[in-house]
């Protein structure tokens, strides 16, 4: 009977993978939501593959549900995760035992990679390349060059097509050829850890660069020189407020389990209140 299942199954082609990438790139941000972020986009981008691999309704259903768990990454470099997942699904679908184990493995690799790659991808594509590109094209555009104004958009489309397609196919071939050896040698774990360190480091760098918050508060006792709270804080440690904010949000998310929308609300409320009473 196993035999039957196997024979029934179609082979994953290069074209399937490219289609999966097209879907991923189209869906990634469209269905973004506060509950599971890109989960729906990831699942939907896998549908073509899963339909081929799982001919039985219940298997397909199970596979689809598996990929509807919380997911978020930077979609460009994140394509590599789709590639790896396709390879792993292909292998898992052929197994007849240890199903649970390989499902856990797939989810483990997905969640292990999504964060680090988000950190690295955001830093590279949006923290580095984008500002450089715009920094170059703004002065030309100010002088009226239509060509220069098109560079950031067209450049990004091409760049992301090249990177994304490369990454998904690379992810697939790596996954297919060497996932077993990768896993047994602990190399995947090592890559996840290295990427995690880099991602975390870059989040720190981005936080210090892109979060801005300061206070105009001044303490003035009668007679005494007025004391600016902000310059006092700067004297202790620069960027103290941004640092406090990102850690407060981090700890809150960690405790409440990523109640994302609520944080948005709190940030807005605190900002407005702070603005109203002159705290910020």
């Amino acid at each position: 009977m196993d035999q039957v299942t196997k024979n029934n199954q179609e082979k994953i082609t290069k074209r399937d993978i490219t289609i999966s990438w097209i879907r991923w790139h189209a869906y990634a941000e469209v269905s973004a939501n506060f509950e599971r972020l890109q989960a729906l986009a990831f699942c939907a981008s896998m549908t073509g593959i899963l339909e081929k691999l799982y001919k039985k309704k219940e298997d397909l259903s199970r596979a689809l549900k598996k990929h509807l768990t919380m997911f978020n990454t930077q979609a460009n470099w994140g394509s590599v995760i789709n590639g790896i997942t396709i390879a792993l699904e292909e292998k898992a679908s052929q197994e007849t035992e240890n199903k649970e184990e390989s499902e856990e493995l797939i989810t483990g690799i997905k969640t292990g990679l999504m964060g680090p790659i988000a950190g690295i991808g955001d830093s590279l594509d949006f923290g580095t390349i984008r500002p450089i590109l715009m920094g170059i094209s703004i002065p030309f555009a100010l002088k009226g060059s239509v060509f220069a104004a098109f560079v950031p958009l067209v450049g990004q489309i091409l760049y992301m097509a090249i990177v994304g397609l490369f990454m998904i196919h690379k992810g697939y071939s790596t996954g297919k050829e060497s996932i077993t050896s990768l896993l047994s040698s602990g190399k995947i774990q090592q890559i996840i850890s290295g990427a995690g360190v880099l991602g975390m480091f870059m989040m720190g760098a981005l936080s210090a660069t892109f979060i801005s918050l300061s206070t105009p508060l001044v303490i003035s006792t009668e007679g005494a020189n007025p004391i600016e709270i902000q310059s006092m804080l700067d004297g202790i440690v620069p960027n103290l407020l941004p640092f406090a904010v990102v850690f407060a949000i981090y700890l809150y998310l960690k405790k409440t389990g990523a109640n994302y929308l609520k944080v948005v609300g709190i940030v807005l409320a605190v900002s407005l209140l702070g603005a109203a009473i002159g705290l910020f």
């Binding site: 469209v30 899963l50 923290g127 104004a149 958009l153 990004q156 360190v197 936080s207 910020f280």
Partner: protein, 253 residues
């Protein structure tokens, strides 16, 4: 402004802000919308100057974790036509549009709240093994639902013109716009925090702190600091390889 121009503008904004294609992530940027709007309104020069001026404000805008500090797209779709049609100087147009951009983040939050519904719909489709349904829930429905959200504000702002926008913005109290500016400065923190959560390892937090304070103290650029980050991560990886390996060997006994 003709109705057709207003419709085109609304559609452009809808497409750009929904990132119908991930490679369009830059499209919502004023400098990218500028030549398109310039075409629609037939005044490329003003469009480019206004777009580039507005862009400078958003040059460091980063939206990690799906989180926008401000909506550059709506700001561009308000400011550029205003500068072209009302003959307002680019600087003034920008100063009106930036607060609108702050308000614009609300639209995105509404969208992401509504989209939550589609995930649950997808759950149901998944249960049924309905792959096509999942795809519709992931693309078609969100796009349709977001249409009025994206299209209408820009459309009406275009129809009723700068005066209406000005009146609207005047009605917004000063502390609100100031508060939204503050929120715009804080919101990226949410995206970064979310990414930290998804990275997941508490023990990497010292690397966050190192990255943060290297930048805070030295003012190094992201690319500069990432060189050191790469090296540190590589060394961490290889040095831990040794440790891991021996642990593995030790543990396997």
């Amino acid at each position: 402004m003709s109705i057709i121009q207003a419709i085109l503008l609304g559609v452009i904004y809808w497409i750009s802000q929904n990132k119908v294609w991930y490679g369009f992530s830059n499209m919502r940027m004023p400098i990218c919308l500028a030549p398109i709007i310039g075409l629609i309104f037939g005044d490329m020069e003003t469009a480019l100057v206004t777009g580039a001026t507005l862009q400078m404000i958003y040059i460091g805008s980063i939206a990690s974790g799906g989180n926008h500090p401000a909506d550059e797209g709506i700001a561009a779709c308000i400011a550029i036509p205003m500068a072209i049609q009302a003959g307002i100087s680019p600087e003034v147009a920008v100063s009106i549009a930036v607060p609108v951009g702050l308000l614009g983040t609300f639209i995105d939050n509404i969208r992401k709240t509504i989209n939550t519904g589609f995930v649950h719909l997808a759950d149901k489709y998944a249960d049924e093994g309905n792959a096509k349904g999942v795809r519709r829930a992931a693309f078609l429905y969100p796009l349709l639902v977001s249409f009025p959200l994206r299209f209408l504000p820009v459309f009406f702002a275009s129809i009723y013109g700068p005066a209406a926008v000005q009146t609207f913005m005047d009605a917004v109290p000063g502390w609100v716009t100031h508060g939204l500016t503050i929120a715009g400065g804080i919101l990226p923190a949410l995206g970064f925090a979310l990414t930290m959560i998804t990275i997941g390892k508490t023990k990497y937090i010292p690397f966050f702190i190192i990255g943060f304070f290297i930048v805070a103290y030295s003012g190094l650029s992201i690319i500069g600091v990432s060189i050191f980050g790469l090296c540190i991560a590589y060394l961490y990886m290889t040095s831990n390889k040794a440790a891991n390996k021996s642990q593995a060997e030790g543990g396997n006994l």
